[in-house]
């Protein structure tokens, strides 16, 4: 193994390096200089984000257990962008809440470690790497969930998450062992060739997908999502609903479309049912929420149901649609969570009714919220509309018209609740609205980037063209 082939792992190596640098800085910096860790970590991660867009060749390492190709590489870059935006939004939170307890470096190290795990998981060429990546991404998040330890909800969320995540991991591992027992290998390529689908193997595969489905919060494996999102620090809820979910969707897609294509027809009808259940349940719960974080949690469950629409197609159009959707979804959700985050940090208010009259006091923030929610609801010309439209076309390419009909019906229902915060902000008055405040410059930059993203991604077709050029993974 020479240096060139190690460069294939550039993203992961760089991330590890950043983790080490932050750790060393934590050790050598004197307590009064600890606040520079924020700038250091942000700067390094910014560089990493930019570097991650530099193309990499296709290749594999460690006997095929690590694989990279353009699509996965750019998807990592997308996730890095998402994490970077989340970090920008969290600066003032870190300064205010974590710095006094001297938890700054830990926050960055854990978050980067989790992203590292996701990167490994997506690049995995066998179940070992896949599982290691999955756990590496989950463990730090559990710790991060409890980071607001003065708040008992945060602790409760952490406990719930650790228990349910280990349950899902156990089921996933059990599935892996069943597949290993029948196919005789843990390597994806070998398994693909040896897939004869006896009942035992099918059950094993189902358990694997249930394990991933937990991460994506598909119904009926979604129960943790709302409680954890509500209890966890908003930054972490944002990360869970966007980054970790995005990576899990990507893995589900590659496994289904490439390795277990033969299995798809056994599974399709279950996925069909899961898609409907997820959309409907997510929507029905979102309808009744008053807390913005819970509301976004259920909305993100419903969004996962829509992704399954394209998951059913199992063709190149499906790959494009999913990757594009995730890209847009990251931008929309980061923006929406970001607004909730800054408002909750400045005023401690998290309920929809608290947003009454927000437009009068904070017009720009209200606009960001509106565009983000319109994008999630799929109202043109915001990017979210195009993303949903591609999902429909992917499902239509296999003739799932009834499912599309149900999906569009759900989008119409979802419109109702996405409009609630918008209505509160724009069309309602309040006796004591959230007072005007100036959000910090870091969050402003994040908002500007997401807004540009939401408008440009939709109207500039180059992005979709690019994704469609690199999606030839089938």
């Amino acid at each position: 193994m020479n240096l060139d082939s190690l460069m294939l792992m550039r993203d992961e190596l760089l991330l590890t390096l950043i983790i080490l640098v932050v750790l060393i800085a934590e050790i050598i910096l004197s307590p009064k200089n600890k606040k520079y860790i924020i700038q250091l970590a942000l700067g390094l991660f910014g560089i990493y984000t930019i570097v991650s867009f530099i193309p990499l060749p296709k290749g594999s390492l460690f006997g095929g257990s690590y694989q990279t190709y353009p699509l996965v590489h750019y998807f990592k870059a997308i996730l890095a962008t998402g994490v970077f935006l989340i970090l920008l939004q969290s600066v003032s939170w870190i300064k205010e809440k974590l710095l006094p307890y001297d938890f700054t470096a830990e926050f960055f190290i854990l978050l980067f470690a989790s992203l590292l795990g996701l990167n490994f998981m997506m690049s995995a060429g066998d179940f070992l790497m896949f599982y290691l990546g999955l756990e590496l991404s989950t463990m730090p998040i559990i710790a991060l969930t409890t980071f607001e330890f003065w708040n008992h909800r945060s602790i409760e969320a952490g406990v719930k998450y650790v228990m349910l995540a280990s349950l899902s991991s156990a089921i996933l591992l059990f599935g892996v062992s069943l597949v290993y027992a029948t196919a005789g290998s843990i390597n994806f390529d070998v398994i693909k060739g040896a897939l004869h689908l006896p009942l035992l193997e099918i059950i094993g595969l189902i358990m694997i997908f249930i394990g991933i489905g937990f991460k994506i919060s598909l119904v009926p494996f979604h129960f943790w999502a709302a409680d954890v999102y509500e209890g966890a620090p908003t930054v972490i809820s944002n990360y869970l609903s966007v980054i970790s979910k995005g990576a899990a969707v990507y893995v589900l897609m590659t496994l289904l479309f490439i390795t277990f294509t033969a299995f798809q027809k056994e599974w399709n009808w279950i996925m069909y049912g899961t898609a409907i259940l997820t959309m409907v349940v997510g929507n029905l719960f979102a309808l009744r929420q008053q807390n913005m974080k819970r509301f976004l949690a259920f909305s993100s469950i419903a969004q996962a149901g829509f992704i399954l629409l394209a998951m059913l197609s199992n063709n190149a159009l499906g790959v494009k649609a999913i990757v594009y959707f995730l890209l847009v979804y990251i931008f929309s959700n980061v923006a929406a969570f970001g607004v909730v985050h800054v408002i909750s940090l400045k005023s401690g208010k998290e309920n929809i009714d608290d947003y009454n009259g927000l437009y009068i006091s904070n017009p720009k923030l209200s606009l960001v919220l509106m565009i983000a929610l319109f994008s999630l609801a799929g109202i043109p010309p915001v990017a979210g509309f195009f993303a949903k439209f591609f999902l429909y076309t992917a499902a239509a390419s296999k003739g799932y018209y009834v499912l599309i009909f149900i999906a569009v019906l759900n989008v119409t229902i979802s419109l109702y609740y996405y409009l609630l915060p918008v209505r509160a902000a724009f069309l309602r008055r309040s006796e004591n609205p959230i007072p005007y405040f100036k959000s910090d410059n870091y969050s402003r930059i994040a908002f500007i980037i997401t807004m540009i993203g939401l408008l440009v991604l939709g109207l500039y077709s180059g992005v979709f063209e690019f994704i469609s050029n690199i999606s030839n993974i089938l």
Partner: protein, 649 residues
């Protein structure tokens, strides 16, 4: 050919830039300036549109006796899904889009000018002009779209701007509720539209209007339907279903029964907005959509979808006209009247043929769209001036306004004569051609149209007499006064348009097969005479019932003793009319229909919402917050899926 119209992208672009500019500076620019900016930008695109119309219809459009459709490509192959299916961004210039350009910019300009006076001293003045520009941009984009995908985007944008404008007075809870209702109902319809678009995309392999409407496409589709008998549902082929779904989208925007419930409530918006969006432009988008895809509607499966268009249109026309008889709020009368007239246009498209003179219905439908935009906008704007003067929407607070507001009275009369179909005003020509086309198609459809013509004349003049004559309420110290000049200018301009628009030789310009044909009114035709008589008798009845409800008859009775019996006899006739209308039509037809509309149709929509909410309440108990429960559900889910797999394997 292409470069002739390459400036056309400016037409939607200018209002968009105006919107962005006004939107960002809304707080800094003071009252008259933002209005002037909006009006100036509209004036510029109004001139551009007129120039385009002139150039298209009289210079370059007609090639070999057929109007060409010219596509200005802004971005070729903007998105491609597969080798077969892609989307371009382009602008389409053809007779109907040019006609719509003129309609939208004319009405929008008039509304802009009118609002300089109407919105005077309103706190949301700049915001209002910003929204107006957004709407104008979206509507122009919709009109110029070259494919189904683009039209859908602008379709939604129009919906968003309508949402913003209906809810403009957000201090009023009813306005907020109305805006939401309008948005949700039309989105419900758009859901079908979107599915229809996807289906068309996958069966015709294109979204492009030009390709879709070309003979080769619909012949291919016809062959495909003939060879794929299986691909049908309830005996109707998939493609016809796609067209029906698209039409449902149009029904939502155009307030066709039963998706019309948002339109009367939408009157909560400022009156100029009602004139622009809910009378002249946005609500006819559904008509425009059917006209856009007319060759497909006509040819696919012998025009089955078109028959539905005709029946829904005719029914809506009659339904709304009957309800309009009972309304007391003048804006609601006008709203139902709009629904009725749009039903007329839909009916006209539905009964039309394709080639040459057979396409009379299509031409008449478009013609009516054009004339209706003028006189209905005029009616709404006049209503706005009246409401401005008496500060009420209700007819009981009006009366005798003729002497206070002579100009408004005159233009209202012109518009009312036009909508009633009295020659030589604009509405007569278009309405008469619709009735002729309907007569050739089906006697029952014609009968419905004929009846609606009479009802329209009646309710319109009921409105006219009760507002401008009849008993005068006590206005107190604040005598009603004529509107300011800006408002009067718009009224007079539209009044002139209403008088002359009927003489435009429309069949030479717009036709189903794009070939000009000649049509003229045969004054001795019994159909023409019958329709004029019908309108005149509607007006007559209204005159008898509402003009004379003053003390005048009593004075005549006492002053001229001999004339008393004559007056009394006249009174008998009044009684008879009142008996027929009030006792029979109102009590037994209108009221039940209005009740049905209020309770059953609205109720059904409410029930749907309620069910969803109840269901959400029910399943809420599952989300207990207890981890043990979650783990149990999780494991049960796993077991259930595994059992299902084992069972079905």
């Amino acid at each position: 050919m292409m470069n002739e119209f390459s400036y056309l992208y400016l037409i939607p672009l200018i209002p968009l830039l105006t919107f962005i500019f006004l939107g960002f500076t809304a707080k800094k620019i003071k009252e008259p300036i933002s209005g002037y900016i909006g009006t100036a930008s509209l004036l510029s695109i109004f001139i551009l549109s007129l120039y385009t119309a002139y150039k298209y219809f009289f210079v370059v459009g007609l090639v070999d006796g057929k109007y060409q459709s010219i596509k200005i490509m802004l971005k070729e192959n903007w998105i491609h899904f597969s080798d077969k299916l892609g989307i371009d961004i382009g602008l389409l210039v053809d007779p109907i889009s040019v006609m719509m350009l003129v309609v939208v910019t004319t009405i929008s300009l008039m509304v802009h000018i009118y609002s300089l006076g109407y919105m005077h001293d309103d706190t949301g003045y700049s915001r209002f002009y910003a929204y107006l520009s957004l709407f104008t941009f979206s509507m122009l984009g919709l009109v110029l779209s070259s494919n189904l995908f683009m039209i859908y985007i602008f379709w939604e944008l129009v919906g968003v701007s309508s949402f913003l404008l209906i809810g403009f007075y957000f201090e009023k809870p009813s306005a907020v509720a109305a805006s939401k209702k309008a948005f949700i109902v039309t989105r419900f319809a758009d859901m079908f539209f979107l599915i229809g678009i996807l289906m068309v995309g996958y069966f015709a392999h294109t979204f492009d209007f030009e390709t879709l409407n070309s003979p080769s496409t619909y012949e291919t589709i016809q062959n495909w339907i003939a060879n794929h008998q299986i691909a049908s549902f309830m005996g109707i082929s998939v493609f016809t279903w796609a067209l029906i779904f698209i039409y449902i989208g149009g029904m939502g925007k155009s307030a066709m029964f039963p998706l019309h419930i948002w339109l009367p409530d939408a009157m909560e918006g400022p009156t100029p907005v009602s004139a622009l969006i809910h009378a002249a432009t946005m609500v006819v988008a559904g008509v425009f959509l059917v006209a856009r895809l007319y060759p497909l509607y006509f040819h696919v499966e012998d025009g089955f979808a078109l028959r539905i268009v005709a029946v829904v249109g005719a029914f809506s026309a009659l339904f709304a006209a009957i309800i309009a008889l009972t309304q007391e709020d003048i804006k609601r009368v006008l709203a139902f009247s709009t629904m009725s007239q749009i039903g007329y246009m839909m009916m006209a498209l539905g009964v039309s043929g394709f080639n040459g003179h057979e396409g009379l219905g299509y031409m008449a439908g478009m013609f009516h769209l054009f004339t209706h935009a003028m006189f209905k906008a005029l009616l709404f704007l006049t209503a706005g001036a009246i409401i401005h003067a008496v500060h009420s929407n209700y007819m009981k607070d009006m009366g005798g306004l003729n002497k206070y507001m002579p100009v408004s009275s005159l233009v209202f009369l012109i518009a009312a004569l036009a909508i009633s179909g009295i020659p030589p005003f604009a509405g007569f020509f278009s309405k008469d051609e619709i009735l002729t086309a309907a007569f050739e198609y089906n006697i029952f459809i014609w009968l419905v149209g004929f009846l609606v013509a009479g009802l329209t004349a009646f309710y319109m003049f009921r409105l006219y007499f009760r507002i401008f004559f009849n008993k005068q309420p006590d206005y107190g110290d604040h005598k009603p006064h004529e509107a300011p000049y800006t408002m009067l200018f718009a009224l007079i301009f539209l009044g002139l348009m209403t008088m002359i628009a009927g003489f435009i030789p429309f069949s030479e310009l717009v036709s189903a097969d794009r070939m000009p044909f000649h049509s003229h009114i045969e004054w001795t035709d019994p159909l023409v005479i019958a329709s004029i008589l019908m309108a005149a008798s509607g007006i007559g009845v209204a005159y008898l019932m509402y003009y004379k409800e003053t003390s005048y008859p009593e004075k005549v009775a006492t002053a001229m003793g001999k004339g008393y019996k004559w007056a009394k006899n006249k009174f008998y006739i009044d009684e008879l009319y009142i008996f027929i209308t009030h006792k029979i039509i109102f009590e037994h037809v209108s009221k039940p229909i209005a009740w049905f509309d209020r309770n059953v149709i609205d109720g059904f929509m409410n029930l749907l919402g309620l069910t969803v909410e109840k269901l959400a309440e029910r399943i809420k108990i599952i989300q207990t917050g207890r981890m043990q429960d979650y783990a149990m559900y999780f494991v049960s889910g796993v077991i259930a899926i595994v059992m299902l797999i084992i069972y079905f394997n």
